[in-house]
Symmetry: C3
Subunit: 346 residues, 3 copies
């Protein structure tokens, strides 16, 4: 891939400060980019590298004002992160795969549309339907009666249990499991447990992306539902009968217990735990490692275990660190009061 700075500026509606004909051959991080690379500056932590980068051009925000002399060419845009993301598409070169490999197992009852890729060692079960343009990488398992829409990208070693429904433009990364049984056991006699059959399924709507090694359990009854536009990172636990609302984003290692309903446009940090049967509103933000133990209203910002409003948490955390000082202070006050009392009694 090769583009001039002028071509790049046109795509991202940017203003060039520097040589318009500069040829860009790759994209790099500001601290390690080399000649011929385009890079970007969004997070101020990295500003110091602007003055030393070996890149041939840097995308910056329109309002950015350097504190020192800048030698590298700049391209000014409204939002440098979105702009670099746009240019990355042009330099993205994932291998293009097509066709149904002769070492794939496809059950004769499966309905496979055109333009698909089904790699070696893929297993496609009975009555499965796979839409046009969908790519399924090696070693992926598609159980019976699964319906998969168009233009999905399912990487290697994914396990999709029977009856799952997947929309269009969905990406699923390796090691992820969709439709394993919910964790439901009824006590038998106070000692051992009897499994509660999990007869529901999982529904994944359009434009969802799911990271690697994530698990989404099937519903006991009905469906576990991942709504349109949801983005799940790696290692996320989605228990049975959970519903995650449109465009909600959840970072790595978060665990969502059974029957939780999460609203739209939420941002949930990593390693968060959400207790069972709770309702989380829309536009909620939850800090990393929090433990949610109560329903959460629209727009709340929470952190901590159990989670409390973010402003309380920050103050309390600082005091927690110095809890011993507080304790010492109380001891001092106690001594002073004792002294005051003894004076009184003299």
């Amino acid at each position: 891939m090769k583009m001039t700075l002028e071509e790049i500026a046109k795509i991202i509606d940017g203003e060039i400060e520097g040589e318009r004909g500069t040829v860009i051959r790759g994209i790099g991080k500001i601290e390690t980019a080399k000649e011929g690379d385009l890079t970007f500056l969004a997070n101020p932590v990295y500003t110091k590298y602007l003055y030393t980068t070996k890149a041939s051009a840097v995308i910056v925000n329109k309002d950015f004002r350097p504190e020192k002399d800048v030698k590298v060419a700049l391209v000014r845009v409204d939002d440098s992160y979105r702009a670099i993301s746009k240019i990355l598409q042009y330099f993205h070169k994932e291998p293009e795969k097509t066709g149904i490999d002769s070492w794939a197992f496809v059950h004769p009852t499966a309905k496979i549309a055109g333009d698909v890729y089904i790699g070696p060692f893929v297993y496609v079960g009975e009555n499965v339907e796979i839409g046009k343009g969908t790519k399924i990488y090696p070693h992926t398992y598609i159980g019976d009666n699964v319906k998969i829409g168009k233009d999905n990208l399912i990487y290697a070693n994914v396990s999709i249990y029977h009856d799952t429904r997947i929309g269009n433009n969905v990406t699923i990364h390796s090691g992820t499991v969709i439709g394993s049984d919910g964790f439901g056991f009824a006590p038998n006699n106070g000692k051992s447990f009897k499994k509660v059959p999990q007869i529901g399924n999982v529904i994944i709507e359009d434009n969802v992306e799911i990271g690697s090694n994530t698990s989404i359990d099937r519903a006991t009854m009905g469906s576990t539902i991942i709504r349109r536009g949801v983005k799940l990172d790696n290692f996320i636990q989605v228990a049975h009968n959970v519903e995650i609302g449109e465009n909600t984003v959840i970072a790595s290692k978060t665990g969502i217990s059974g029957s939780v309903k999460i609203g739209k446009n939420c941002m949930i940090g990593g390693q968060v735990g959400i207790a069972g049967h709770l309702k989380i509103g829309d536009n909620v933000k939850v800090g990393a490692q929090s433990g949610i133990t109560k329903n959460v209203k629209d727009g709340e910002i929470l952190i901590g275990t159990p989670a409390i409003p973010a402003q309380n948490f920050r103050k309390s955390a600082i005091l927690f660190k110095n809890l011993e000082d507080l304790y010492e202070e109380i001891k001092r006050l106690k001594a002073e009061i004792a002294q005051l009392k003894s004076l009184k009694n003299e």
Copy 2:
């Protein structure tokens, strides 16, 4: 599947309030069930849906007293959750698989009993033994010298390392790894590390269920042991030489460090961490996200990081939230004491 309410009541020893001949065609959640569905009410949070559900019948506990008029038929039982679980068996329709697929790799030295299912792309190593009625789904790896008993259900993409022993009636979900090396490294010279060979194995007794994407490491020496009736959720880390006692239940994302011994009938919440070499007694309960740093006696109920008795934790957590108020209170007291002292000296 189709049953009358009368047939259902007979199975779960229930009393019908409504039309005995009502035909049930499916099972649904109370809030989304449709006509022809049976549903249940166990958690009071869902009581409000009883008055509006479209289901044709609801299983409720004997002592349940509705606060409003109920239009739907009721079936009263001793334990509504156990009752629905029993009925779910009848509506459970997982595809039945049998036979050894011609695309399975089965080493000639392996001993395979009758009535098994070994799917396409399954790998069965040297000297493996697989008992009657066991089902192994596609892409599962069974290493050399593994012994697997009867009537087990091992889903797709499971990895079972050499020398593992698995009893009867065990279920293992996709992505789970049994027998990977324990995390043991001896410092070489204060800088790099040398691997400690892990020559032990994993033993899984009867009636165990293991969720998806869980890892159980082999022992350094001897065995990592999962006792009869244990239920492990998804993403559980069981380190080398751990032993988990009978009928203990562990929720998702909990991590158990090396050589920990856990007793019988414990209930351990999600995202808990247990430090190495600890002994956890029988009938212990641990709240979600706790960190266990000391031995735990039989019957203790703990929560927090480090874990403390549940009643202390709840009180301390409320005070933590308002730690700033406590701090302000101390400042006020300090000022008052200063004032008292100055008066004294006047």
Copy 3:
């Protein structure tokens, strides 16, 4: 395997107290070892078993002084854990595999050196290079343009995405995913998100060991880098553009956010979370379940969420447990002050 105590003592430079000709046939844990077994004592918690063990010999540290009569033969060494680790090599009997199985898929453009094992159902993509002595177990996926060095051991069901670079003497356990996309999405219009293409790769240097079910994401640009000698346990999340320094050891379930740089020789406990873009120095120690929210200097020892120096955390945690007592104490002081004031005014 069979060795005399004399042969064993020679290997580990040990002094025998007991019969030099004793024959050792296996290795066991001190509490469950049987006749003919060698065992060891390193952790004082297990000392009590020394007096009752059925093992035929126990490796102990030179300075160990038993409190009771010891019947079993002893072998005294400088470091009993390192010594047993050395002997374990001799009793380690993992099945030796060689050759390229006829049921492996190897793309004609791949370059495979001699002495390799490529098991059934392994997928090797275009332009892949695999060095001498490397073993790849069944169901492992090697994407296009991956370069793998010599003497690596890659277990079953591993997924290695395109463009990954792996050095020599690297071990990767089952279920692990190398090179899945980083979690990068640019807000589209305040509601939905647009994927940021992840065009970088993952580099794994020599002598690295990676546990089961771990995920290492590819870089957005440039490389996610795991330096020489790093040891990663199971379920570790390594986000895009992270760099982990030489010989750093990380325990299970820890999550490292995007662009974090971790130094050399660090020891990071289990279930730790590290926020994005932070710099962690060399020789840092982080306690289990901590949350790192700030840069960390060389040699710091931290614990807690947010993480604070270990000595502060321990004191504060004890006070947190008894926060209610503190609160009661303040109430008492308040009452006493009120009383003093009223006396004053009399």
